[in-house]
Symmetry: C2
Subunit: 668 residues, 2 copies
């Protein structure tokens, strides 16, 4: 927090002002987020009264180290300064800004103006000499000796011209800049924190599936062993996270039947989110999926295919959960002696019981819930999708995520909070690495532009990492219900290129399953309540598109970030155009995607060639990575046509260096 | 400052979140500013996890009182709440926001949904009964008795329908709302402060003049006594502050002659900003103006004309100032034994010496400077225009203004900082009541719109009060040099209606004096360096316009505020249109001013009749208060023509209630 004003003449605080540091979240109460390799670009307004010159430094350090590293900040304009540092280690970082009133720079600045005007500067050189002497008092010995020598020259120069040259020299300036007067400095408080995570927090491609549907024998309950079979194909599709709905024993009391029916047949497997039965709770594996050992082996197999297993943590219980007997005080009991089940009146969810986070045994409950994460971390899981975190106290997540990260900074948390924006943002501030979003319900061009702008070009970008899902087991949005296969392809392209984190619920997605419960955005015969048998290579599937999209994402670092998105003008409201580039513009991808799954759409795309460093006068190559078509483009306006029957999008890699012979040959 | 996260399961802090409170300045480090009678409208995002309902209150109190007054805040949308309070006393105020998780409201909300769905709610009523009992434990005795009685009814209702009616009743809700559970509440920290000033801090009309130029005998040095003579005319012009350049003895060493010449004739009076001579310093009166007693009498006379005298405080010394001998350690001395005079290399200002605010005797210097304000306050002066405050440490002003306001909260400070925007804003944060601005150098329509929007529609409006000056003794801007009398009229209208605080340097302004030093924005033969003799009623003067403008300002409360400005569309870039209204829209003024002093300009003005509460279908009266012309307008579009030969502006009062007979008579 900034210091309170000290209104005392005896100790009024420094003359220098440091204001408006960015990035920061809620005046430094919450950290900004970065992954290893990312930059932190810091801006601040720094100034002093009068005409004194100031010197400004960006200070940063890893958590656990006390010594700051200092980077000189560059003056921009209007009292604003900028500097940056790179995140090099998987440790949280701290940063702040320090400013000095630089007596030496101010003196040198005036000296130059006076000598330029031909004024006598003998006395000024003496003043400079005194500044050097004072600085010598806080230098290393060799520097001090050098400064004192120079101070003598300035005090009694034999030759005024060479004394002035000495005063203006870089060598003197370097020593003076390195030994500024700490008494004339201010350092911004509080120090600002960077929550640092590994790269997958920023770049991940999730594939969600229900293991129980992958038995080779239709109708039989699938196991982890069965699922080892499908790992090579998921790897071929190019995903890097496989996410399993809860794998725990499923309650029997009030178990839901097909289509969420309150009537349940004896063979119905139940919803995995009704966690816990006599067979165990959140630390147990549903015996029908296999053993804990089977699970560990599945995780190890997945790792061989470069696939990381993510688990779903749903902090809620079926009425049969062992906690109900072991810790009745963790739940809310009604005056009639029954437990308070979940409800959203008039709807009842009698198969689900919520924890009472305000229980008198809060310490016991909270520690146990933390223990659930620790247990699965010990089984090899480092990514968790957290179910409905917004129905638990924010302060619980503040505590839990900090606690888990203390020992396991490599753990990634995805917040499944489909709720009001400020609630979603508060959870991100609590430390969730990624979050579900409203992408699923955005439809028009303006909606996409507005939403992505909010997510990537405002303060939100500093703490909230979107993860774009076109579908989930709970959500079959209307545009997928009515748009056919093309709509699935459009959404896949957008999810995979708008956001560096995205995921699908498969194989319903790649098989373009689009039959809803009448009038709702839910799947008919949802997999949540039954065992499915998928014809994974069935007709009309878009597996090859997904494989290509994921390959493009892997090959192009600019698609492994989200904050770098910039929208482009195209004169057609049914076409969305944007580009992403790496910081050095060595990798540039332009995406043009149609929002109309039925008709051919076309328009003139405006390419910001100046921004991209493209020469107006020279042709450049644009290669559509989806079709492998190459185009030779020149200038700012280029015509784009998208035919949904062929491909609803271009993902264009821009090559500024045209290897003329070869590329023209290809084109001609 | 917001509290740091407590990451402890044992005491995690409240479940409720309070974020994004507005207004606040730099996370509460600096106060917002208001005058008596103004409202403070507070918004905040307040929410809890889950589906619990929250109750939100705005808390406020006067400085010095410990007990908060509470106002329920109203829910807007997207988790945002709003509430307000009025400033009733000339005391600083504190405010903050408190939120509660309301178990009762959540319960009642669910109960309603369940009864609407026809569900059995017997158990729910028992749960409600328990909530009432718990609440009774923290109520007044009569309330507790009432709640316990109701609790018994809910627990064992004879008639379920009347029990439900009781649960839904307003009487119960009122008691429950008044006795929310403090354990389930959070109060935002830090408390936010309102710096409260008297009305003149927001509404003032300044007339600056040099007393020495007002002798009835041309060439003789004018006195305070002489100036008593002109008070009735200044009062007739409608100003309410008369501001005098420094009135202290003027130094002789290096005194500047006419036109800032280094050659000074024996009769040249010198610049009043070269403060101090053998005759005294900052607490003395220049004997040529009279005695201290004369000054006090002048102040008293002015008061009789409802004119307040403002003094210019210039913290700098002539080389002859008594401080130079009494406190040589308050100044900077050069190695050659001479004092460091003011300079902006290569320019030298040898008639001015600056204080060294970092002197070892800082306490002595700072207290003495504070003493200068106190001295003049004791002579009856409560408004100070501070010269060049940006060349003194910000922390000095933080301290000085707080110190002076402790004893004299009615003192008003005007910051004369023509410098970089962030420096000007930091001085305003230090407590300056008003500030000079860039108004003087804004010319195009877009420049005015952008600048006024920054000043009135951003956070800046909370701490920075503009005071618009079309000219000063130092500044004769280019548009006044070339635009003739019309340009002066245009600027007068804009200054007086764009900003509730404005001022002119007269009589140069109302006499339309516009001869510059060749190629500069300075007056030729500036009054700073010589005694003038003014023909105040000379040809072409705009005194009547000023008198009318000030009368319009006095009669229309909407012109006595600045934050209420809203720009209007008019399809001509040479015409600027805006309106101001009081909060209840009882007073509405539309201003249309031409930016072209030479040609007739016209355009279609769009009037936001919906916003102003005007009926689309009915005519309304628009009266130009400058010309007294009345127009009957209807609908959104109205044609406006401005002829600089007649009047460069309309100041239109909108009357929604048309007294038909009379007004139509007038018009027809």
């Amino acid at each position: 927090m900034p210091k309170k004003i000290k209104a005392r003449a005896s100790d009024p605080g420094p003359r220098i002002v440091i204001e408006n540091i960015t990035p920061q979240v809620d005046a430094g109460r919450f950290p900004i987020k970065r992954v290893i390799g990312e930059q932190v670009v810091v801006r601040a307004d720094v100034f002093a009264d009068g005409h004194d010159e100031v010197a400004v430094f960006l200070l940063y350090r890893e958590c656990g180290r006390q010594d700051w590293r200092e980077v000189p900040m560059k003056f921009l304009n209007n009292d604003a300064w900028v500097g940056s540092f790179a995140i090099e280690r998987e440790k949280d970082y701290f940063y702040t800004v320090r400013g000095y009133v630089s007596e030496f720079s101010s003196w040198r600045h005036d000296l130059k103006k006076k000598t330029d005007a031909g004024r006598d500067v003998a006395v000024d050189l003496k003043i400079g000499s005194a500044i050097l002497k004072a600085t010598a008092g806080r230098c290393s010995k060799p520097e001090a000796a050098q400064l004192l020598k120079w101070a003598r020259i300035l005090a009694a120069p034999k030759d005024i011209k060479s004394a002035i040259a000495l005063a203006m020299g870089d060598e003197l300036a370097a020593i003076m800049q390195a030994n500024l007067d700490p008494e004339k400095s201010a350092t911004h408080e509080p120090q600002l924190r960077v929550l640092v995570e590994r790269g997958r927090a920023l770049f991940s491609s999730w594939y969600e599936f229900f293991p129980r549907s992958w038995s080779p024998k239709p109708g039989r309950h699938g196991t982890f062993k069965d699922c080892e079979r499908i790992l090579p194909e998921i790897a071929r599709l190019g995903f890097n996270v496989i996410y399993l709905p809860p794998i725990h024993p499923i309650g029997k009391t009030f178990r839901k039947g097909k289509n969420n029916s309150v009537k349940c047949a004896p063979t119905d497997p139940g919803s995995p989110w009704a966690v816990g039965s006599a067979e165990g709770g959140h630390k147990a594996v549903n015996p029908r999926l296999g053993t804990l050992k089977d699970f560990r082996e599945f995780v190890a197999h997945a790792r061989k295919h470069s696939l990381e297993v993510a688990l779903d943590i749903a902090f809620q219980c079926s009425p049969d959960h062992p906690y109900m007997k072991e810790h009745p005080d963790w739940f809310t009991w009604r005056p009639d002696g029954t437990v308070q089940y979940a409800e959203n009146p008039p709807k009842k969810y009698e198969d689900i019981v919520h924890f009472n986070f305000d229980t008198a045994d809060r310490k016991g409950l909270w520690e146990e819930l933390k223990g659930i994460f620790i247990f699965w971390i010990e089984q090899g899981v480092k990514i968790f999708r957290v179910d409905n975190p917004h129905t638990k106290p924010f302060v619980f997540w503040d505590w839990l995520i900090a606690e888990v990260r203390k020992e396991h900074p490599d753990v990634i948390f995805l917040s499944e909070a489909f709720t009001r924006p400020k609630v979603m943002y508060r959870l991100a501030k609590a430390g969730f690495s990624q979050s579900y979003t409203y992408f699923t319900w955005r439809n028009t061009k303006q909606e996409f532009v507005d939403y992505l702008t909010e997510l990537t070009q405002t303060d939100v970008a500093e703490f909230f990492r979107p993860n774009f899902w076109p579908n989930t087991p709970d959500i079959l949005p209307e545009h997928l219900q009515v748009g056919g296969r093309t709509a699935f392809a459009m959404r896949a392209v957008m999810a995979a290129t708008l956001s560096s984190n995205y995921g699908i619920y498969g194989p319903a997605f790649e098989l373009c399953v689009n039959t809803p419960i009448q009038g709702r955005e839910e799947y008919l015969d949802a997999e949540k309540y039954e065992i499915k048998s998928w014809d994974w290579d069935g007709p009309g599937n878009i597996k090859d598109l997904l494989a290509r999209l994921n390959a493009i994402r892997r090959a192009n670092p600019c698609l492994q970030m989200t904050r770098n998105i910039r929208f482009l003008d195209i004169n057609n409201d049914q076409m969305l155009a944007y580009y992403k580039a790496t910081g050095d513009y060595s990798d540039i991808i332009i995406v043009v995607v149609s929002l109309d799954p039925r008709n051919v759409q076309s328009g003139w795309l405006e390419i910001p060639i100046g921004e991209l460093g493209i020469d107006k006068e020279r042709p450049f190559m644009a290669q559509d990575l989806l079709s492998d078509q190459k185009f030779i483009w020149q200038g700012e306006k280029n015509f784009i046509e998208l035919d949904p029957a062929r491909s609803p999008a271009h993902i264009i890699r821009v090559s500024k260096q045209l290897r003329r012979e070869q590329d023209f040959d290809y084109f001609l």
